[in-house]
């Protein structure tokens, strides 16, 4: 496949494993074993069985008739919001926890922004009887309270990250530091297609089930497995990676990623990485990164905790670089309106992260016959506070 990772862990100019020596043995162990573990029959059986019976896959592909009417195209929703725990994140945590078991690890750590990945990690840890510590920015703990309590109910310890902007970036720093201090018995379940190689590839493979299902579901419903557009929001980029994965080499399919513009791309309060970033190194990979001229990472901003990250996965940086994926962005206001619109037209309250993807519909020049798949990455239950505070419904 043309756009997937090469043997050295790079996607074009992006990727690699920029990690301190303290993490080298861990990353090396993963790099050497992840493919043989994932490709084994035993893993595949366990992974597929859990996705089916525990997560509830395949998730439906739903033709959104009223939304289609409104935008003058055939719009299909990939219902990742119906996954157990309410978002696509669990596809990855199921995969990684089986892998962690195979590697003989006893403890799990994770970072989380919106709390969806934290909940998905806490969930699989409960399922597998493993100890779980989740790092979460203090600011995010406040804006995603229900998820903090969900993690605690599931038996996880939630550690507030109090450095920097106290959001996803800082939670990731803290998780990596924890791993440096506990290298042998602990596996770090990264929640998106970020981090040192092989994480971006590994997470993309676990999420690829999304586009695998879209292909056969679309074939069933429309007679062709190829849509004209696939849309997904991008924080680190895992739900987008999953929704794009099996379409990457089908150049006739337009792939559209939607970033969070916060208060506006030029406002100084934004998380639109491709619009504002330059190549740099953060959290173990070379990628596009919002930073000052001096190379200090800029504190991003978005109303949605899950998109409030100053980088994107290296695979997306490459897809942007070579023009395979079109990157758009949506502001807080546009996303909130799109979230309300979806609620009213289809009876689905999306996560605010996901609402960004819907906000980009207006920016596409859709034709009447176009088939559009939007990855509905998560549901909005966790965001009720934010919806209520926003108030305009």
């Amino acid at each position: 496949m043309k756009y997937t990772v090469d043997k050295t862990g790079y996607y074009g100019n992006f990727g690699g494993a920029y990690i301190p020596e303290m993490l080298y043995p861990n990353i090396e162990e993963l790099r050497e074993s992840y493919l043989s573990i994932i490709d084994s029959k035993e893993f595949e059986q366990q992974f597929n069985a859990l996705l089916k019976d525990y997560v509830g896959r395949p998730t439906p592909l739903f033709k959104a008739e009223r939304l289609s009417d409104k935008y003058g195209a055939h719009i299909y929703l990939k219902r990742e919001d119906l996954c157990h725990t309410g978002a696509h994140k669990v596809n990855n945590t199921i995969g990684q926890i089986i892998l962690a078991k195979k590697l003989g690890k006893q403890k799990i750590i994770a970072e989380t922004g919106a709390g969806q990945h934290g909940v998905a990690t806490a969930t699989v840890c409960a399922l597998m009887g493993m100890e779980c510590v989740v790092y979460m920015g203090k600011v995010d703990m406040e804006r995603q309270k229900p998820n903090v309590e969900r993690m605690r109910i599931l038996g996880a310890t939630v550690q507030p990250a109090t450095s920097g902007s106290q959001t996803l970036k800082d939670a990731t720093n803290e998780a990596m530091r924890h791993w440096i201090n506990n290298p042998t018995d602990t596996h770090y379940i990264i929640g998106s297609v970020v981090g040192p190689h092989p994480y971006p590839d590994m997470v993309a493979r676990f999420q690829a089930v999304i586009s695998e299902e879209i292909k056969f579901q679309l074939l069933e419903q429309t007679g062709s497995e190829l849509p004209n557009y696939v849309l997904a929001c991008v924080g680190g980029g895992s739900n987008a990676a999953g929704a794009f994965y099996h379409y990457l080499d089908k150049e006739e399919v337009h792939l559209v990623a939607v970033e969070a513009a916060g208060l506006g791309v030029a406002s100084g309060e934004s998380a639109a990485t491709t619009a504002l970033g330059k190549p740099g190194v953060l959290h173990g990979s070379k990628t596009l990164l919002m930073q000052t001229q001096d190379g200090q990472v800029v504190e991003p901003y978005s109303i949605s905790a899950g998109l409030d990250y100053p980088g994107i996965g290296p695979m997306h940086a490459h897809l942007f670089d070579v023009g395979r994926v079109k990157f758009l962005n949506a502001t807080d206001e546009e996303a909130m309106k799109a979230g309300i619109e979806l609620s009213r037209l289809e009876g689905i309250i999306p996560a605010i992260e996901t609402a960004h993807a819907f906000a980009a519909l207006k920016q596409l020049n859709l034709g009447q016959n176009d088939v559009v798949v939007i990855n509905l990455s998560g549901r909005g239950d966790k965001d009720l506070d934010t919806y209520i505070r926003w108030g305009k419904y």
């Binding site: 690699g16 301190p20 001096d294 190379g295 990472v297």
Partner: protein, 257 residues
């Protein structure tokens, strides 16, 4: 002879290297601290390039990075502050920092600036060996800059030998599997790790870093290596000092006593 090699030629044990963050506690302390450290008897000086996301650092150095950045520290400014370094300081000076600010500064320009001001070596913890070899090694060598690699208790013998083969100054032995930060003592794990490394009979000398905080830990580290590196414990002194020059003198004396 290169300044770092000269140091290890002249001195075989109890070498003391001291780390601090540029621009901390006050923006313009950077050069003075180096001068005072040499005067106090430090054998080598490591100046940290502040970074917003210091992954390998514990709370003390995280905080000094943050203060330095809030003070307005930048890499440009650092080279400007140490422009006169070589008329004031004779011991080897190493810059330690994360790779992103270096990439933004421009690697060629960075090496040139290091050479111009008389920086002797670099410790870039998140620059992996493979990247170093393919992208950086030649440039460093052209500018007389030594790259210093880290090894840890988890590093295999095989990889330690690889590091040894790629090094031409000294090897930085991280004492424990941890982020930076002062510890009160070392245990058996450290002793057996130090011994394992010594028994490999490496070509390069070794300095132990991370967790060295006082005379005791300095002594334990030196028993198995050529010396040690102190960071967090020194930063703590700087952070609470009313008189930097005399406190630095005091601190170095207390370690070497």
């Amino acid at each position: 002879m290169h300044r770092i090699n000269q140091l290890f030629e002249n001195k075989k044990d109890r070498i003391l290297s001291v780390y601090y963050s540029a621009g901390f506690p006050a923006l313009n302390n950077t050069l003075d601290i180096a001068i005072w450290l040499e005067k106090a008897g430090a054998d080598m000086i490591e100046i940290g390039i502040p970074f917003s996301d210091p992954l390998a650092d514990g709370p003390t150095i995280q905080e000094s990075n943050k203060v330095a950045l809030d003070n307005g520290m930048t890499l440009d400014l650092l080279f400007n502050q140490i422009k006169e370094l070589r008329s004031k300081v004779t011991v080897p000076v190493i810059l330690m920092g994360y790779i992103n600010p270096v990439i933004q500064y421009g690697i060629g320009r960075f090496c040139q600036s290091c050479e111009d001001v008389g920086v002797d070596g670099l410790i870039l913890p998140d620059l992996p060996m493979s990247e170093y070899i393919s992208e950086y090694q030649d440039k460093f060598t052209d500018h007389g800059i030594k790259n210093i690699f880290l090894i840890t208790p988890q590093t295999s013998d095989e990889r330690i030998r690889e590091v040894d083969a790629r090094s031409n100054s000294f090897i930085y032995m991280v004492s424990t599997s941890s982020t930076t930060g002062a510890k009160d003592s070392f245990g058996e794990v450290q002793a057996s790790y130090f011994e394992r490394v010594r028994s490999l009979n490496l070509n390069n000398p070794t300095l132990v870093g991370f967790g060295i905080s006082n005379k005791v830990t300095f002594g334990q580290a030196c028993a198995h290596s050529n010396g040690a590196i102190i960071g967090s414990a020194f930063i703590k002194v700087l952070g609470s000092s009313d008189n930097l020059e005399s406190d630095i003198l005091q601190f170095v004396k207390s370690i070497k006593a």
